[in-house]
Symmetry: C2
Subunit: 247 residues, 2 copies
């Protein structure tokens, strides 16, 4: 299976860095706070961050009391930013695609992954490995693009009025799982669509107990400030799952 | 909270009976087989059927080995059909809206509900009662209209080509939970939209462990026979959940 490393594409990297540097993007407003709200007390935990990118959350986890943080990422560019900006004793970065997790040794109390799982074709393989890497009772908290989103097969995602205002999201081929090509700064970013039932059932089948799922949406206050995010009321962008490794 | 009894509306009842009498409707092709596939061995189980309608499944459960089946329904019309066509020692029918479940005594091994939960405003109240009515380790298996479906706020649900062919489902106000008015044989059938995360999280919060979720879709063979059901690839009609009462 191909391991996709779009983050080392120059055009993608530039576009992505600019997006993440903006204050009010959907990650900062919705995905990050909701994912952090699911975290347990991190004191003394050994944490693995799958797709750690530039490592800012690895540093956050350490500051929140974690004993050790391991960040893995496929992208050399991302990891060089991580090493430069977010190094500390207690954090180690390893260049490794998520598909190679079987090379990693276990004993983690918490595995976290932010918006990376939908780039992976072999979801069950990753889930199996995460289960192996966790101690019994350990937790797996991950976010991904929402299945209502990943199913998209091309063209405008929205039904709009004549002014371009978004009236409804278009949902197409939700039940057809597999590869989708997406345009996000560069052409041909590959994501893999899985239905909600597959995302949940594979976790259960591989020894996890579902603890909570979150479909972030804007608060009233946020909507007043950023009315354009009303589109998240029509269709959630993100899905966040918290699951416990059963003993 | 209003208890809705559309099944005792004459027009609704006539339309619904005709629909269910046809062989190849979505219930018979998708909802029923997938729900039955989730059933455990019924031998000696005490079963409660919430919204049992005309009782045909109560009779099936008894024939599959159940010890006792209790069917409750809000509709007198439905229950009179049930008593006429699907009576047996071991089956009892009680006229009771699901909102009054706290009047029922517990000790059930399995609670089943087919396509009735989305008519209920107080979902948490029903889930709490089902947990109370089940023995520890007992199971709750229910189907409902899929959240991608229940969110619908009116108008055509589909983006179509000029011939009327369905290209994409329209998804609107998914994150806005609450009452929806639906037209299904009669106007103003009220359903209550809840997001997938609410459906799942309320079960977990009230003491259930999620065992499996199913979003039925047509098989290749079914699609060949009934190509119109391709629309279920765009958007699932049903959600089926299997959950276990934790001890």
């Amino acid at each position: 299976m191909a391991k996709q490393n779009i983050y080392d594409n120059e055009t993608f990297f530039a576009g992505y860095s600019e997006l993440r540097a903006r204050e009010a993007n959907a990650n900062n407003l919705f995905e990050i706070p909701e994912r952090f709200a699911l975290l347990p007390d991190l004191a003394d935990l050994r944490i693995l961050d799958l797709g750690c990118g530039s490592g800012e959350h690895c540093m956050d986890y350490l500051n929140m009391g974690a004993k050790e943080v391991t960040g893995i990422d496929i992208s050399e560019k991302m990891l060089s930013v991580a090493k430069e900006k977010n190094s500390a004793p207690g954090i180690r970065y390893i260049r490794m695609p998520m598909e190679d997790l079987d090379k990693l040794e276990g004993g983690f109390d918490l595995v976290i992954s932010s918006l990376a799982i939908h780039y992976i074709e072999d979801y069950r393989g990753v889930v199996k490995n995460v289960r192996r890497l966790l101690v019994p009772g350990g937790e797996f908290i991950f976010s991904q693009e929402h299945p209502i989103n990943t199913c998209h097969t091309g063209g405008d995602r929205w039904v709009r009025d004549e002014t371009g205002y978004k009236l409804s999201a278009k949902v197409t081929d939700y039940a057809k799982e597999g590869e989708r090509e997406s345009v996000w700064f560069v052409d041909n970013v590959k994501i893999y669509h899985r239905s909600m039932s597959t995302v949940i059932n594979v976790l259960i089948e591989e020894g996890f107990k579902i603890e909570k799922i979150v479909e972030p949406k804007p608060s009233e206050e946020l909507l007043e400030k950023y009315p354009d995010y009303y589109d998240l009321y029509h269709k959630p962008d993100f899905l966040i799952v918290k699951a416990k490794a059963e003993s």
